[in-house]
Amino acid sequence: MSLQEVFQEISAADFFYRNRDIAGFTNPTRAIYSTIRELVENSLDAAEIREIPPDIYLRVSHESGPTDGPGIYRIHIEDNGIGIPHEIIPSAFGQVLFGSKYKLRQTRGTFGLGGKMAILYGQVTTHGQATIMSSTGPTKVHEYQLTIDIQKNKPVILKHKTHPNDNRWHGAVIDFLTEADYTRAMPKVLEYLQQTAIVAPYANLTYVDPRGRLYRFERATTQMPKPPQETLPHPYGVDVETMKRLIELTKERTMLGFMKTHFHRVGRTIATGFLQQVGLPPKKNPKKLAPDEIVRVVNAMKSYKFLAPDANCLSPLGEELLEAGIKKELSPEFVSVYQRKPSAYSGFPFIVEVGIAYGGEIEPKGGIRLYRFANKIPLLFDEASDVSWKAVNTQMDWRHYKASPDMPIAVFVHICSTKVPYKTVGKEFIADRPDVEREVLNAVREVARRLSLFLSKKIHLAHDKHRLDVFQKYLPKIAGFSAKLAKKEKPPDVAPLLKSVLRYEKIEESEDDQDEDAE
């Protein structure tokens, strides 16, 4: 009796096809939402990287099948991003895991996977092909029609042609069929687009839905956030596997040089000190490290006192833009935003930005409305598991800030990081890492304090208004009735007294029977 196992190598495309849940393509409802989200985010990234104010046009049209359940829809998206060099278009769209996102830089996606998953999902549900048109700005626009060979993880080019590009257009157009239950996904899709408009106030988003309705989210500014810079890995965030790869790649001949070249914020002094602590000679060739030495180095990195990562690699939105986004989409009565200083968890830098808004189009809903963003992506699912939800709903005592659940209050939390600490692969909620949690809570407290100042003022004004209303209601009546009683023709003028009401700071409010002189 012999056990015979068949080991079969599967391609990355095959792997993701078999495990499409983890990329957010569980069912036709979730799939259309993920498709739109991935495409829009790729387009935004492609424009922002060179500080081009994004212009994105998205159209979803119904092709065949029912509209009240899964049917076939055509997805069409156009952007004005930097475009894709024509020779890599096939791989960029037809090969899973080929992407620009394996360096440490804050971008929306992490794997460069989403766009391809969308096309892959479309292909397996409709047997259709994808049309990609792109130019980086020179004289030609390239158009490809392709499918993905799932087993080989290779693009199959069906057609390739070029068009003249007289206007020096740069950008990308993607068009393909996919299966979707749009009707059920619609609320989330619209919410996603609106929240994206909040967090990308410099973008024009145009959306035509399957019933031909036009949604337009116009930019409120052309000012762009500073694009993120690429950065080296920080020693705190390095694991054994990463270390092995770095050793493989390196051209450095000594450990000292290796440390200086491949790690973030490690210079000669720090490298020397570190190597001394680990007990490795600075001149040792990194390629000659024994496996147990590699493990020792990685473990020592976790505890050695390195400089904190700097935040140049991050691209926060900035207070001004966050405020512009909130104002343009919700026109609140009051808004305040606050950006924390950069911080780090496990060697990954992050910045927390928060906003708070009151009134306008925010509906009171028996609690604080929470808008969550990570690396400029709105997070719409699993709200109650998120670190921000915990801070806003369980750690804050809003009564201290004069806020009550029946008030129209919204809190916006944006966490940006080279590696957002998502709790699951679905990337919908952020783990309550102590460092992150502390930053979020402190930031929310700060804006809540500002809100409470606004609310006190508002209460004060309401009080004043109420007082004026009361005087305005009764004083003319007293004038009228007393003139009648006194048999006068005209009531006396009460305007001067009313005028003095608002300026009058301390109106007597003493107890009824206690306020008079005894004779």
Partner: protein, 371 residues
Amino acid sequence: MKKSKKVKTTKTKTPSRVEQKKSVVLSALRSLGEQLYSQLSKKQWPSVRMPSRSITNIHYDQHTRQYILGERFVRRSARNIRHIRPLTQLVWTGSFVDELAREGKTSTLRDVFYSAQAYEMSFTDQAESDDIITDLETVLEHPREDFNVFPEERSAIFGDLTIQYTVRGYEGRKLNLASHPDGMMIGPALTNAEFAECKADKIIAIEKGGLFTRFIEERVHDKYKALLIHTAGQAPRATRALIRRMSQELGLPVYIFCDADPWGMHIANVIIAGSANAAHLRELNTPDAKWAGVYASDIVDYKLPSDPLTDLDIKRLYELQKDPRYDTKLWKREIEAFLRLKRKSEQEAFSRYGLAFIVDKYLPARLKELG
């Protein structure tokens, strides 16, 4: 001794008492209006000053033998956000009753509550509007009946008194109050009437309607030359004012018959000494009126059927003991008798000796005793 007493005032040209009172009230209303008007004209916050009616400012006055208000005053000022509404209500009520008085119409407390709504002056409830009327009484120093606002409850009178109406449509008409064997209702018309001719020489006030009718059937008004008044429980203020007027203008002594319990005693006492609620008013009480029974001692003396006092009755008796209005020999003696006896009786208890006993035996004996 004259058989008939003509009241002089109606014969002369000088204004009647009722007319005088009316003009005093009207001028008090006018000066209230003028005061507020002139404050407003001077760009001052209008305000009204009146004696405080808080419990700590109510004192018993030995001189007038009634409750009066003390030295403390309150000011209702439009400048105080919590006063401006009641002040407006006060002025509105003033202008409302001013109109009533001019047109010779009357109104009830309930009416005032509803009429306010037409002026966007709504009262929260009737308690609030009643309270404002009490304020107006305090400011004007006149009971609301003088400015034509009457309560719902009505009591009755029967006897040989001829009145002359002053109310619109009946001016000068006369009526003898013995014309109807159920008695005549003491309402606005009777309250505002002049006394033309009176053949009675005393007033007997009776707590209960049954006994009031019995007295009429047994011709007490003839036999004892009495005006009979049915107080219907605690006497309404219009009735108390009428008793005082009759006692003063006609010079008649007043006797009050109630049940033999602390509550009956208090009905008699309020007619005599007034109530704390009306401490801001004068001329509602009749200090010389006499409590004529039924006493606690009568329960023993006449062997009346009786019931035990309840805890509440006993508690009330202890309260009355401390009340300055009960600080005379008779009241004290009877309160102690009740507490000793721990029993009470109703007026109807005399019926065990036959229907006429109370009139033929008890009444003459008591009247003689009181002198």
